[in-house]
Protein backbone atom coordinates (compact mmCIF):
# COMPACT_ATOMS: atom_id res chain seq x y z
CA UNK A 1 0.00 0.00 0.00
CA UNK A 2 1.98 2.94 -1.23
CA UNK A 3 0.76 6.45 -0.90
CA UNK A 4 2.95 9.45 -1.12
CA UNK A 5 2.20 12.99 -0.21
CA UNK A 6 4.94 15.51 -0.36
CA UNK A 7 5.38 17.02 3.05
CA UNK A 8 8.23 18.92 4.53
CA UNK A 9 8.73 18.17 8.18
CA UNK A 10 8.09 21.76 9.18
CA UNK A 11 4.64 21.77 7.67
CA UNK A 12 3.18 18.56 9.02
CA UNK A 13 -0.57 18.93 9.34
CA UNK A 14 -1.67 19.13 12.95
CA UNK A 15 -4.84 17.20 13.61
CA UNK A 16 -6.98 17.33 16.73
CA UNK A 17 -8.65 13.95 17.23
CA UNK A 18 -11.64 13.76 19.58
CA UNK A 19 -13.09 10.49 20.86
CA UNK A 20 -14.33 9.37 24.27
CA UNK A 21 -13.18 5.80 23.65
CA UNK A 22 -9.56 5.15 24.53
CA UNK A 23 -9.10 2.29 22.07
CA UNK A 24 -10.42 4.42 19.21
CA UNK A 25 -8.30 7.38 20.27
CA UNK A 26 -5.18 5.27 20.17
CA UNK A 27 -6.13 3.87 16.79
CA UNK A 28 -6.93 7.20 15.16
CA UNK A 29 -3.76 8.69 16.58
CA UNK A 30 -1.69 5.94 14.99
CA UNK A 31 -3.50 6.20 11.68
CA UNK A 32 -2.85 9.94 11.58
CA UNK A 33 0.79 9.59 12.59
CA UNK A 34 1.27 7.07 9.80
CA UNK A 35 -0.11 9.69 7.46
CA UNK A 36 2.61 12.07 8.63
CA UNK A 37 0.45 14.22 10.84
CA UNK A 38 1.14 15.70 14.19
CA UNK A 39 -1.67 14.57 16.49
CA UNK A 40 -3.29 15.95 19.61
CA UNK A 41 -6.06 13.87 21.15
CA UNK A 42 -8.99 14.97 23.29
CA UNK A 43 -11.36 12.73 25.18
CA UNK A 44 -14.43 14.91 24.84
CA UNK A 45 -15.87 17.97 23.15
CA UNK A 46 -15.14 20.29 26.03
CA UNK A 47 -11.44 19.41 26.08
CA UNK A 48 -11.37 19.91 22.33
CA UNK A 49 -12.91 23.38 22.67
CA UNK A 50 -10.47 24.23 25.42
CA UNK A 51 -7.58 23.22 23.20
CA UNK A 52 -8.96 25.35 20.41
CA UNK A 53 -9.28 28.31 22.77
CA UNK A 54 -13.03 28.52 22.32
CA UNK A 55 -14.21 28.01 25.89
CA UNK A 56 -13.74 31.38 27.55
CA UNK A 57 -14.05 33.37 24.37
CA UNK A 58 -10.35 34.07 24.71
CA UNK A 59 -8.87 36.69 22.49
CA UNK A 60 -6.29 35.37 20.09
CA UNK A 61 -3.07 35.04 21.98
CA UNK A 62 0.26 34.06 20.56
CA UNK A 63 -0.14 30.78 22.41
CA UNK A 64 -3.50 29.98 20.93
CA UNK A 65 -3.69 26.54 19.45
CA UNK A 66 -6.49 26.97 17.02
CA UNK A 67 -4.26 28.56 14.44
CA UNK A 68 -2.03 25.52 14.55
CA UNK A 69 -4.78 22.97 14.01
CA UNK A 70 -5.24 21.98 10.37
CA UNK A 71 -8.15 19.64 10.93
CA UNK A 72 -10.43 18.27 13.62
CA UNK A 73 -11.62 14.70 13.47
CA UNK A 74 -14.31 13.79 15.95
CA UNK A 75 -16.47 10.88 16.96
CA UNK A 76 -20.20 11.57 16.75
CA UNK A 77 -21.43 9.65 19.81
CA UNK A 78 -19.85 11.15 22.87
CA UNK A 79 -21.35 11.77 26.31
CA UNK A 80 -21.95 15.40 27.17
CA UNK A 81 -21.23 17.13 23.91
CA UNK A 82 -21.78 15.12 20.74
CA UNK A 83 -19.51 15.43 17.72
CA UNK A 84 -22.32 17.30 16.00
CA UNK A 85 -22.46 19.88 18.80
CA UNK A 86 -18.70 20.23 18.70
CA UNK A 87 -18.86 20.72 14.94
CA UNK A 88 -21.42 23.50 15.39
CA UNK A 89 -19.32 25.29 17.97
CA UNK A 90 -16.25 25.13 15.77
CA UNK A 91 -18.15 26.48 12.78
CA UNK A 92 -19.79 29.22 14.84
CA UNK A 93 -16.52 30.77 15.88
CA UNK A 94 -14.82 33.20 13.55
CA UNK A 95 -11.41 31.93 14.63
CA UNK A 96 -12.07 28.28 13.82
CA UNK A 97 -14.82 28.16 11.22
CA UNK A 98 -12.27 27.61 8.48
CA UNK A 99 -10.89 24.47 10.11
CA UNK A 100 -12.12 21.35 8.35
CA UNK A 101 -14.04 19.05 10.67
CA UNK A 102 -14.49 15.37 9.93
CA UNK A 103 -17.13 13.43 11.84
CA UNK A 104 -16.86 9.68 12.34
CA UNK A 105 -19.39 7.20 13.58
CA UNK A 106 -19.84 3.47 13.85
CA UNK A 107 -23.45 3.90 12.73
CA UNK A 108 -24.52 4.54 9.18
CA UNK A 109 -27.55 6.78 9.70
CA UNK A 110 -28.38 8.99 6.70
CA UNK A 111 -30.16 11.70 8.74
CA UNK A 112 -27.15 11.91 11.01
CA UNK A 113 -24.78 12.14 8.08
CA UNK A 114 -26.83 14.84 6.35
CA UNK A 115 -27.13 16.84 9.53
CA UNK A 116 -23.37 16.93 9.91
CA UNK A 117 -22.69 17.75 6.30
CA UNK A 118 -25.26 20.54 6.40
CA UNK A 119 -23.58 21.98 9.44
CA UNK A 120 -20.34 22.17 7.48
CA UNK A 121 -18.56 18.90 8.16
CA UNK A 122 -15.91 18.24 5.55
CA UNK A 123 -16.67 14.57 5.56
CA UNK A 124 -18.47 11.87 7.44
CA UNK A 125 -16.61 8.61 7.90
CA UNK A 126 -17.68 5.23 9.12
CA UNK A 127 -15.73 3.50 11.83
CA UNK A 128 -13.57 1.58 12.02
CA UNK A 129 -11.31 3.84 10.02
CA UNK A 130 -8.90 2.31 7.55
CA UNK A 131 -5.50 3.69 6.62
CA UNK A 132 -6.78 4.55 3.14
CA UNK A 133 -9.58 6.67 4.66
CA UNK A 134 -7.14 8.69 6.71
CA UNK A 135 -4.70 9.03 3.83
CA UNK A 136 -7.48 10.51 1.69
CA UNK A 137 -8.23 13.11 4.34
CA UNK A 138 -4.73 14.17 5.13
CA UNK A 139 -3.47 14.36 1.57
CA UNK A 140 -5.76 17.35 1.12
CA UNK A 141 -4.20 19.14 4.05
CA UNK A 142 -0.78 19.39 2.52
CA UNK A 143 -0.28 22.83 1.11
Amino acid sequence: MEFSCVTSSSSKPHVLAVDDNLVDRKLVEMLLKKSSCKVTTAENGLRALEYLGLVDEQENSLESNESKVSMVITDYCMPGMTGYELLKKIKESSTTKGVPVVVMSSENIPTRINKCLEEGAQMFMLKPLKPSDVQKLTCNLVN
Binding site: M1, N21, L22, V23, D24, K26, L27, M30, L31, K34, C77, S106, K127, P128, K130, P131
Partner: protein, 152 residues
Protein backbone atom coordinates in the same frame (compact mmCIF):
# COMPACT_ATOMS: atom_id res chain seq x y z
CA UNK B 1 13.04 -27.31 9.96
CA UNK B 2 14.98 -25.07 12.27
CA UNK B 3 13.46 -23.56 15.38
CA UNK B 4 12.62 -20.23 13.80
CA UNK B 5 10.83 -21.79 10.82
CA UNK B 6 8.92 -24.09 13.13
CA UNK B 7 7.79 -21.19 15.29
CA UNK B 8 6.89 -19.13 12.24
CA UNK B 9 4.85 -22.06 10.89
CA UNK B 10 3.05 -22.33 14.22
CA UNK B 11 2.39 -18.61 14.18
CA UNK B 12 0.97 -18.66 10.68
CA UNK B 13 -1.26 -21.65 11.46
CA UNK B 14 -2.48 -20.14 14.70
CA UNK B 15 -3.20 -16.76 13.16
CA UNK B 16 -5.03 -18.35 10.24
CA UNK B 17 -7.20 -20.33 12.63
CA UNK B 18 -8.14 -17.16 14.51
CA UNK B 19 -9.41 -15.64 11.27
CA UNK B 20 -11.04 -18.82 10.06
CA UNK B 21 -12.91 -19.35 13.32
CA UNK B 22 -14.08 -15.75 13.33
CA UNK B 23 -12.29 -14.65 16.47
CA UNK B 24 -10.72 -11.77 14.59
CA UNK B 25 -11.48 -10.11 11.29
CA UNK B 26 -9.69 -7.95 8.76
CA UNK B 27 -9.61 -4.99 11.12
CA UNK B 28 -7.15 -6.95 13.30
CA UNK B 29 -4.81 -7.35 10.36
CA UNK B 30 -5.13 -3.59 9.75
CA UNK B 31 -3.85 -3.09 13.29
CA UNK B 32 -0.92 -5.41 12.64
CA UNK B 33 -0.03 -3.48 9.50
CA UNK B 34 0.14 -0.27 11.50
CA UNK B 35 2.83 -1.70 13.75
CA UNK B 36 6.39 -0.85 12.77
CA UNK B 37 9.90 -0.38 14.18
CA UNK B 38 9.01 2.95 15.77
CA UNK B 39 5.85 1.47 17.31
CA UNK B 40 6.80 -2.17 17.87
CA UNK B 41 4.25 -2.81 20.63
CA UNK B 42 1.29 -1.11 19.05
CA UNK B 43 -0.90 -4.18 18.69
CA UNK B 44 -0.21 -5.44 22.21
CA UNK B 45 -0.93 -1.96 23.59
CA UNK B 46 -4.19 -1.49 21.75
CA UNK B 47 -5.36 -5.00 22.56
CA UNK B 48 -4.53 -4.48 26.26
CA UNK B 49 -6.54 -1.27 26.28
CA UNK B 50 -9.36 -3.13 24.64
CA UNK B 51 -9.39 -5.88 27.26
CA UNK B 52 -9.28 -3.33 30.07
CA UNK B 53 -12.21 -1.57 28.42
CA UNK B 54 -14.08 -4.91 28.12
CA UNK B 55 -13.62 -5.72 31.74
CA UNK B 56 -14.84 -2.31 32.86
CA UNK B 57 -17.84 -2.29 30.55
CA UNK B 58 -18.87 -5.84 31.46
CA UNK B 59 -18.79 -4.84 35.13
CA UNK B 60 -20.91 -1.78 34.38
CA UNK B 61 -23.41 -3.85 32.43
CA UNK B 62 -23.64 -6.42 35.23
CA UNK B 63 -24.25 -3.70 37.80
CA UNK B 64 -26.89 -2.04 35.67
CA UNK B 65 -28.69 -5.35 35.13
CA UNK B 66 -28.72 -6.06 38.87
CA UNK B 67 -30.85 -3.02 39.60
CA UNK B 68 -34.45 -3.35 40.72
CA UNK B 69 -35.51 -1.18 37.80
CA UNK B 70 -33.06 -1.82 35.03
CA UNK B 71 -32.11 1.23 33.01
CA UNK B 72 -31.90 -0.45 29.62
CA UNK B 73 -30.71 2.73 27.94
CA UNK B 74 -27.74 2.71 30.27
CA UNK B 75 -27.00 -0.96 29.56
CA UNK B 76 -27.35 -0.29 25.86
CA UNK B 77 -24.90 2.59 25.98
CA UNK B 78 -22.28 0.32 27.58
CA UNK B 79 -22.91 -2.33 24.93
CA UNK B 80 -22.65 0.31 22.23
CA UNK B 81 -19.24 1.34 23.60
CA UNK B 82 -18.04 -2.25 23.65
CA UNK B 83 -19.37 -2.88 20.16
CA UNK B 84 -17.40 0.13 18.99
CA UNK B 85 -14.09 -0.83 20.50
CA UNK B 86 -14.41 -4.51 19.54
CA UNK B 87 -15.10 -3.42 16.00
CA UNK B 88 -12.05 -1.14 16.05
CA UNK B 89 -9.67 -3.94 17.06
CA UNK B 90 -11.28 -6.59 14.89
CA UNK B 91 -12.65 -8.69 17.77
CA UNK B 92 -15.42 -9.99 15.63
CA UNK B 93 -17.07 -12.53 17.95
CA UNK B 94 -17.21 -9.99 20.76
CA UNK B 95 -18.69 -7.49 18.33
CA UNK B 96 -21.36 -9.93 17.15
CA UNK B 97 -22.25 -10.77 20.73
CA UNK B 98 -22.75 -7.04 21.31
CA UNK B 99 -24.99 -6.71 18.29
CA UNK B 100 -27.26 -9.45 19.65
CA UNK B 101 -27.11 -7.87 23.09
CA UNK B 102 -28.42 -4.55 21.78
CA UNK B 103 -31.59 -6.12 20.43
CA UNK B 104 -32.38 -7.45 23.92
CA UNK B 105 -31.70 -4.01 25.38
CA UNK B 106 -34.11 -2.48 22.92
CA UNK B 107 -36.69 -5.12 23.82
CA UNK B 108 -35.99 -4.39 27.50
CA UNK B 109 -35.60 -8.10 28.06
CA UNK B 110 -33.62 -8.61 31.25
CA UNK B 111 -33.21 -12.38 30.90
CA UNK B 112 -32.06 -12.01 27.33
CA UNK B 113 -29.62 -9.32 28.38
CA UNK B 114 -28.17 -11.47 31.12
CA UNK B 115 -27.63 -14.31 28.66
CA UNK B 116 -25.93 -11.93 26.26
CA UNK B 117 -23.76 -10.57 29.01
CA UNK B 118 -22.58 -14.10 29.73
CA UNK B 119 -21.90 -14.59 26.04
CA UNK B 120 -19.91 -11.36 25.79
CA UNK B 121 -17.93 -12.25 28.88
CA UNK B 122 -17.11 -15.65 27.48
CA UNK B 123 -16.11 -14.36 24.07
CA UNK B 124 -13.81 -11.75 25.50
CA UNK B 125 -12.17 -14.26 27.87
CA UNK B 126 -11.56 -16.76 25.11
CA UNK B 127 -10.18 -14.07 22.81
CA UNK B 128 -7.92 -12.76 25.53
CA UNK B 129 -6.39 -16.22 25.97
CA UNK B 130 -6.00 -16.71 22.25
CA UNK B 131 -4.30 -13.38 21.68
CA UNK B 132 -2.03 -13.89 24.66
CA UNK B 133 -1.02 -17.17 23.05
CA UNK B 134 -0.39 -15.36 19.78
CA UNK B 135 1.73 -12.70 21.43
CA UNK B 136 3.72 -15.38 23.23
CA UNK B 137 4.48 -17.02 19.89
CA UNK B 138 5.60 -13.67 18.54
CA UNK B 139 7.91 -13.17 21.48
CA UNK B 140 9.40 -16.62 20.97
CA UNK B 141 10.07 -15.91 17.31
CA UNK B 142 11.66 -12.56 18.07
CA UNK B 143 13.74 -14.06 20.89
CA UNK B 144 15.01 -16.73 18.50
CA UNK B 145 16.07 -13.96 16.13
CA UNK B 146 13.32 -14.49 13.56
CA UNK B 147 10.84 -12.09 12.01
CA UNK B 148 7.09 -12.22 12.42
CA UNK B 149 5.45 -13.42 9.22
CA UNK B 150 2.58 -11.36 7.79
CA UNK B 151 -0.59 -13.41 7.52
CA UNK B 152 -3.14 -12.08 5.04
Amino acid sequence: MDVISQLQRQFIDYTSSLYREGYVDDQFSQLQKLQDESNPDFVVEVVSLFFDDCQKLVQNMAQALEQQNVDFKQVDSHVHQLKGSSSSVGASRVKNACIAFRTFCEAQNREGCLRCLQQVNQEYSVLKNKLQQLFRLEQQITAAGGSIPMVE
